[in-house]
């Protein structure tokens, strides 16, 4: 065994000095390494003198009191937060669910002439409106005109928009709001 690996090896053994056969053999033949080994034994013995006084009962009691105080506070905060999270979590989730249900349960779909879905919204007042701007269609105008004719006794009930006379159109424009479509 060489001196360098020997020294590296035994310096790692400081604190639990136990030479193996090769190391024991080496210090028999190498005075320098023997001196190094003895200096380590002396260092080990000196370092073993450094034993701080153990934790006293009073010191531990003081640490324990502070620890209990802090762990209690942490525990209460943690459980308090958990309780809040559970209670408020349930409440908030319920509100969101209610809003979601009330919004989307009123949505209904109808299909247009091409079979494409059209969304209608039924408001809380029960009035039905289309989402898009073209909500006044021919059927609506027909009904409006028929209502107008029945109330005012003008023309026949077979009249449709395209068949109104100029006089009737002027009358309708002046007396009924049809969104300027006539």
């Amino acid at each position: 065994m060489n001196c360098r690996p020997f020294k590296e090896s035994i310096s790692l053994k400081l604190g639990a000095m136990d030479l193996d056969a090769g190391e024991a053999e080496h210090i028999e033949s190498c005075a320098d390494c023997r001196a190094y080994y003895e200096s380590l034994l002396s260092l080990e013995s000196s370092l073993n003198e450094y034993r701080p006084a153990p934790l006293s009962e009073a010191e531990f009691a003081s640490v324990k009191n502070k620890l209990d105080e802090k762990t209690n506070r942490y525990f209460n905060r943690a459980t308090g937060f958990y309780r809040l999270a559970v209670h408020y979590g349930v409440a908030v989730t319920s509100v969101f669910l209610l809003i979601f249900i009330s919004l989307f349960s009123n949505l209904s779909t109808v299909e247009d002439e091409n079979g494409m879905p059209q969304f209608y919204y039924s408001s809380y007042t029960g009035e039905i409106e289309l989402f898009d701007d073209n909500w006044i269609d021919d059927q609506y105008i027909d009904e409006a005109v028929n209502d107008f004719i029945q109330v005012n006794g003008v023309g026949s009930s077979d009249l449709v928009v395209g068949e109104l006379s100029a006089e009737e159109l002027i009358y309708l424009e002046n007396n009924i709001d049809l969104g300027g479509l006539l």
Binding site: G15, S39, L40, L43, S46, E49, R51, P52, L55, V63
Partner: protein, 179 residues
């Protein structure tokens, strides 16, 4: 980890305060010895001891039992100590004689030379760089294996060994005239 300790750990993880208290009682001396040797100040060591157990309490549920409970505790205490040293920058400024204040372990009746050696040892250990000091304390005084220390510090075994060798070298030089 013996069976009793394993049972205590399982109970403490489930929130059993009594089980946690028993673990505290089991580990108080070892953790105190480490924090004291790292700080060299009894009051600071007591504060770090309390912080170590508080952190353990908070993290108990997350302890995955991949390492032993003692390694886990040592890791917490080691981190607390290193952070303390960084915070206080003890290494850059040590007021003369401050490392001796209120040291009750040195009895007045000790022979002067013997007392001086103890003082010098404490001073020399405290003057080691924090990581070397930590490795040295865990190995020499706590008698942990290099493998275990490597796990605690999340370093390679060779790094830990190098730290230990350097610490031994420095202590040899510093204590040469006192032995």
């Amino acid at each position: 980890m013996d069976r009793e300790e394993q049972a205590l750990v399982s109970l403490a993880k489930a929130g059993d305060r009594r089980a946690f208290d028993k673990l505290v009682a089991r580990y108080k001396d070892r953790m105190f010895a480490l924090t004291y040797r790292m700080t060299g100040d009894r009051e600071e060591a007591l504060d770090l001891l309390q912080e170590t157990f508080l952190s353990a309490f908070k993290a108990m549920r997350g302890f995955r039992e991949e390492a032993s409970f003692s390694s886990w505790m040592y890791r917490i205490a080691a981190n607390k100590s290193i952070n303390y040293i960084k915070r206080r920058k003890l290494m850059s400024y040590i007021p003369p004689g401050s490392w001796l204040k209120d040291e009750p372990s040195y009895e007045m009746e000790d022979a002067a030379g013997r007392n001086e050696l103890k003082i010098q040892i404490q001073k020399s250990v405290k003057e080691l760089p924090p990581k070397q000091r930590l490795v040295f304390n865990l190995r020499f005084y706590e008698q942990l294996s290099f493998v275990e220390i490597a796990k605690i510090l999340d370093k390679s075994e060779s790094t830990v060994k190098t730290n230990y060798q350097k610490a031994v070298e420095k202590l040899q030089k510093k204590l040469e005239g006192f032995r």
